[in-house]
């Protein structure tokens, strides 16, 4: 949010705000009506608007129309440019621009060369093609988005909150701010994509404020970004992230492209491989994506391309199971990616309360199901195929951005700048949970967390506990931490070891015995599941307090406040009682 002179000065009172999710593949625009976020459809009726511009006969097309020109007019079509904004040529990955205008080096930045103008009336000569910097491209594209939103709202949109990946650097932000300004758009704030998605869920009226660990898996077209978020009393802290460019929507398209190309060649052995002609490949790609999307909805999908290669039409179908088999490597890669980020955050899958699926690829039922297997049954998988209450994963980011925009639309730029200042956002987070001790069913002490780990301070939480017998009770305030208890099915494992030892001996004496089959049976045995549980361990005691004379079947309310300096304030009282016990524990 560093100040930029290029920001148009908009009086907060005159602002019309929207939220924008600006992706490499698709973008969305959203606004808030009656405290509810809503994604706006553009004039083509699209809510996911391809982040593509195309120039045909001097006319500019954007979104789905531009995407369709990838077949007939690839060189004048600019796609997959968001990640280039604010970057130097040497640090961009041009892989996805192969079938459209290629990025080039342009000093400190990246540019595309397209024929965006035609000869004026009566003139013979074509004007020279234009070299557009990526900033200019972004400006032109944002202008179209803002135009669509303004048309829908009936008011000129002045300002927006834009979502960006967590690894979007300061230079990129500055460049995007400038590009937006050039499109007459004030950027109120950039917010990170996973947090926008989480906010979209938390802002629902039925949502309850709770402390939870969320994994946000944003599975887009060209990248899969995963973040582990500690959600504490409506405040969010990103604990770990990973960015992957391999296991993506485009990789799934490629699986289908290869499949259909091979099927086509089987049927037409003499025809040219459609993957070898740019135009055929472009057709394949577009149709493969359509088929892929259809497979998210139904268990069967059609694939049909006119004049795919050598003038031959091709039409066929594929069922979901087939697709899932073909795409297994990508699906498994996504699971490994998610698992690795949980580990990176220093957590276990058992610590995760919710998995929020975001992005177009998150519609894929198999991906949601596979993530379900990775986590314990108690973990909620928020995807359309696994949870009826899930929000459309393609809309989460734009909605979150719109909500944030509506929250800060009255702020002066100076206010926003100061509110998002690192001095405000950087705060201590407790490493251990703070809670109290309750006698468990079998007499052992049980830790009851009140302030969970990774909570930003200051923080305050209140709980009510029962006192069935009444009388004097002890409130023992302690620190606590979890560890994972693993119980192995012992005897079976032992047997296995023995048979293994014997097997190796055999293999040495007689190589023929060492066939692959026995390896497989080994793996089967390993399926023998060990039991993993998260258990709380009570740490050091902070304080003790007594609540005296509690009524039979009474309740005691304990409230713990951790100050910015880690002082712990404890208040305990009988619910409905007059006096409270209070004390303050200085940090050590």
């Amino acid at each position: 949010m560093s100040g930029s002179g290029t920001r148009p000065a908009v009086d907060p009172n005159d602002r019309v705000t929207i939220g924008i999710s600006f992706g490499n593949s698709n973008s969305s625009i959203a606004h808030v009506v009656d405290d509810k976020a809503e994604v706006i459809a553009n004039e083509d009726g699209d809510r996911q608007i391809p982040t593509i511009l195309s120039y045909v006969d001097g006319d500019e097309y954007y979104g789905q129309q531009a995407k369709n020109f990838l077949v007939r007019n690839p060189t004048n079509t600019i796609a997959y440019f968001r990640d280039f904004v604010g970057k130097e040529f040497k640090s961009i990955d041009p892989t996805h621009n192969h079938a459209s205008a290629h990025p080039q080096e342009a000093g400190e930045t990246v540019s595309f060369t397209v024929q965006d103008k035609v000869a004026a009336e009566g003139e013979e000569e074509q004007p020279a093609p234009s070299v557009l910097t990526v900033s200019e491209v972004a400006t032109r594209y944002l202008r179209r988005l803002v135009g669509a939103a303004s048309e829908y709202l009936g008011k000129k949109v002045t300002s927006a909150v834009i979502t960006v990946p967590t690894n979007f650097g300061d230079k990129q932000r500055a460049a995007l701010t400038a590009a937006a300004a050039a499109a007459d758009l004030e950027v109120l704030q950039f917010i990170s994509e996973p947090v926008a998605a989480v906010l979209a869920y938390d802002a629902r009226p039925e949502a309850k404020l709770a402390d939870k660990i969320q994994v946000v898996a944003d599975l887009g077209g060209t990248r899969s970004d995963v973040a582990v978020v500690a959600s504490r009393g409506g405040m969010y802290t990103v604990l770990a992230t990973a960015h992957d460019y391999e296991f993506t929507g485009v990789a799934l398209d490629k699986v289908l492209i290869d499949h259909f190309a091979k099927e086509f060649l089987k049927k037409n052995p003499k025809a040219k491989d459609p993957r070898e002609t740019p135009r055929s490949l472009a057709k394949l790609r577009l149709e493969a994506e359509v088929t892929k999307r259809a497979l998210s909805r139904g268990t069967n999908a059609a694939f049909s391309v006119e004049s795919l290669s050598d003038g031959i039409d091709y039409a066929t179908t594929i069922n979901r199971l087939r697709y899932e088999t073909l795409a297994r490597a990508v699906f498994e890669g996504i699971n490994r990616l998610v698992e690795s980020v949980v580990k990176k955050a220093g957590l276990d899958v058992l610590d995760v309360d919710e998995v929020v699926l975001v992005g177009g690829t998150a519609h894929t039922p198999r991906i949601a199901a596979n993530l379900g297997f990775l986590f314990p049954k108690t973990t909620r998988i928020l995807a359309p195929s696994t949870d009826v209450a899930a929000i459309n994963p393609s809309e989460l980011q734009a909605r979150g951005a719109a909500l944030q925009a509506s929250l800060i639309c009255d702020y002066d730029p100076e206010d926003i700048e100061q509110s998002t200042h690192a001095a405000v956002t950087t705060v201590p987070h407790v490493a251990n949970a703070i809670g109290i001790v309750s006698p468990g069913a079998s007499g052992e002490d049980v830790f009851v967390p009140i302030i969970p780990t990774d909570t930003a301070v200051p923080a305050r939480r209140t709980v009510q506990l029962s006192v069935p017998a009444g009388g004097d009770v002890l409130v023992k305030v302690v620190e606590g931490n979890t560890h994972i208890k693993v119980t192995k099915p012992e005897p079976a494992a032992k047997e296995k070891d023995e048979s293994k030892a014997a097997k190796v001996e055999d293999a040495d004496d007689d190589a023929d015995d060492d066939d692959d089959d026995s390896d497989f049976s080994d793996d089967d045995e390993e399926e023998e599941e060990e039991k993993r549980e998260k258990v709380w361990k009570i740490g050091s005691t902070l304080a003790e307090a007594a609540v005296r004379g509690v009524q039979k079947d009474g309740k005691v309310e304990v409230s713990i406040t951790v100050g910015a300096d880690l002082t712990v304030l404890v208040t305990a009282r009988e619910v409905g009682g007059k006096s409270a016990v209070r004390g303050s524990v200085p940090s050590a």
Binding site: R336, A423, A543, V581, V585
Partner: protein
């Protein structure tokens, strides 16, 4: 946040718990335990926090820099850790020869190899793409130069596929640590040198953790555990990566089947060779392993000690047995001597008694002679005979004691009648006791 209702009870206050105002401080949250992290400046709750935190304060650019430095970094710098100079010869490689390509080296990961994480591979790939994408080459005026780029793509394809990566790792000899030579070992470092070999071999283990070679201070149990584990090593290593290519057309079915069989046999053979190789490594390592020697010596010493102990015990037992035997013999002899003495004493007593009887009998006979056989004048031989016959008879009917008593009564008597009275008395006593019958006595009764 609202109060959360928890369906758990509070413990009763322990007996005698007292504190001023019923509150007692025991510890405190360690300042050092807290982590500075960055809150996402998003949502109503954050904005409320920001309002409180700002509280009419204005933060400067310096504050920002300071705060950012404190905050735990979540995003890595894209091109941080992986950087390896590119070998010009490598850049000339033909992508078609991917089978012989060192995929780790292509991605600049030769330091990491099988240790590289998936994330490192992805980052390395991206870094290489940024540099070697054909469009980048085209920009540098080298059109159509996508050969090394294809190498990069192939390397990534293999290393990001867990199955293919394992197949490649199986034959990635660059990751092997060669067993130490005699010369190397001569300089010492036995455990470190061999330890590195097994650390590298451990990558093939299906079972983890793999016991390490250890050092001179390892316990016997650790060393035994190491060799047990490794002599029973369960390896996932396989050799399909080295398969010869199988023709992929339908025409050459037989040839295809032949190739497949050949490959399968080659894999088996290589696997067996690998098992043998590992076994030899272990044999070699074990052969020079001073710890094994030491343990053996210690075991021998222990065995030796046991033998000495056993022998000493045997000696002691023999000694004891001998002592016992001597004692028994001594006792037996004593008993025998005692018995003999007793026997002799008894014999003497018997003889004495016999003599006494003889003497008394002589007294008895003498008494009747002294009494001149109870006749006046010279006694006729018949009378003598009759009297002595009676004396004989009586002697025969009474025991030694009675003889002695009778002799006592008779000794010193000289008067015939007195002597006769004694005899008469004796005859009467014997008659009364039934030891003599009437009429048996001829001369002494009247």
């Amino acid at each position: 946040m609202d109060a959360t209702v928890i369906s758990l009870p509070l413990p009763a206050l322990p007996e005698g718990w007292e504190a001023e105002k019923d509150f007692r401080i025991i510890g405190g949250v360690a300042k050092s335990s807290a982590t500075a992290r960055t809150l996402e400046p998003v949502g109503p709750h954050f904005l409320a926090h920001a309002r409180r935190a700002r509280h009419k304060r204005t933060f400067s650019e310096d504050d920002r820099i300071q705060a950012q430095e404190r905050a735990k970094k979540i995003e890595e710098n894209e091109d941080s850790d992986i950087s390896e100079p590119e070998d010009p010869i490598l850049l000339q490689r033909d992508a078609k020869d991917w089978k012989t390509q060192d995929h780790y080296k292509v991605l600049g990961l030769s330091k990491y190899r099988w240790r590289a994480t998936e994330e490192q591979i992805k980052r390395a790939h991206r870094k290489k793409v940024l540099k070697h994408h054909p469009d980048k080459k085209a920009a540098a005026g080298r059109a159509d130069d996508d050969n090394f780029f294809k190498c990069i793509q192939k390397a990534t394809e293999i290393l990001l596929d867990p199955v293919k990566r394992r197949q490649f790792d199986s034959v990635d000899e660059e990751a092997d640590v060669e067993p130490p030579t005699k010369k190397q070992l001569a300089k010492g470092n036995y455990y470190k040198l061999w330890g590195n070999v097994f650390k590298s071999e451990a990558r093939f283990s299906k079972i983890h953790p793999v016991p390490s070679f250890g050092d001179e201070n390892s316990t016997k149990e650790e060393v035994e555990n190491f060799y047990n584990f490794w002599y029973n090593f369960d390896s996932w290593r396989s050799f399909e990566y080295l398969d010869e290519e199988v023709p992929d057309d339908n025409e050459n079915r037989d040839q295809k089947r032949h190739m497949e069989r050949k490959n399968a046999n080659a894999r088996k053979k290589k696997k067996a060779e690998d098992n043998a190789r590992l076994r030899k490594l272990l044999d070699d390592a074990a052969a020079g392993d001073e710890r094994i020697k030491r343990f053996r010596q210690e075991a021998n010493a222990a065995k030796h000690k046991k033998r000495l102990e056993r022998e000493a015990a045997e000696r002691a037992a023999a000694e004891e047995a001998r002592r016992k035997k001597e004692e028994e013999e001594r006792l037996a002899k004593e008993a025998e001597e005692k018995a003999k003495a007793e026997r002799e004493a008894a014999k003497k007593a018997k003889e004495a008694a016999k003599n006494a009887v003889k003497k008394n009998k002589r007294v008895l006979r003498g008494s009747v002679k002294d009494a001149n056989y109870f006749v006046e004048g010279d006694a006729s031989p018949a009378t003598i005979d009759a009297v002595l016959g009676d004396v004989e008879l009586i002697q025969g009917r009474i025991d030694a004691d009675e003889i002695a008593a009778l002799a006592t009564k008779l000794s010193g008597l000289k008067v015939a009648d007195e002597i006769k009275d004694v005899w008469k008395g004796e005859v009467e006593r014997l008659l009364a006791a039934g030891k003599l019958q009437d009429g048996e006595i001829k001369a002494l009764s009247s």
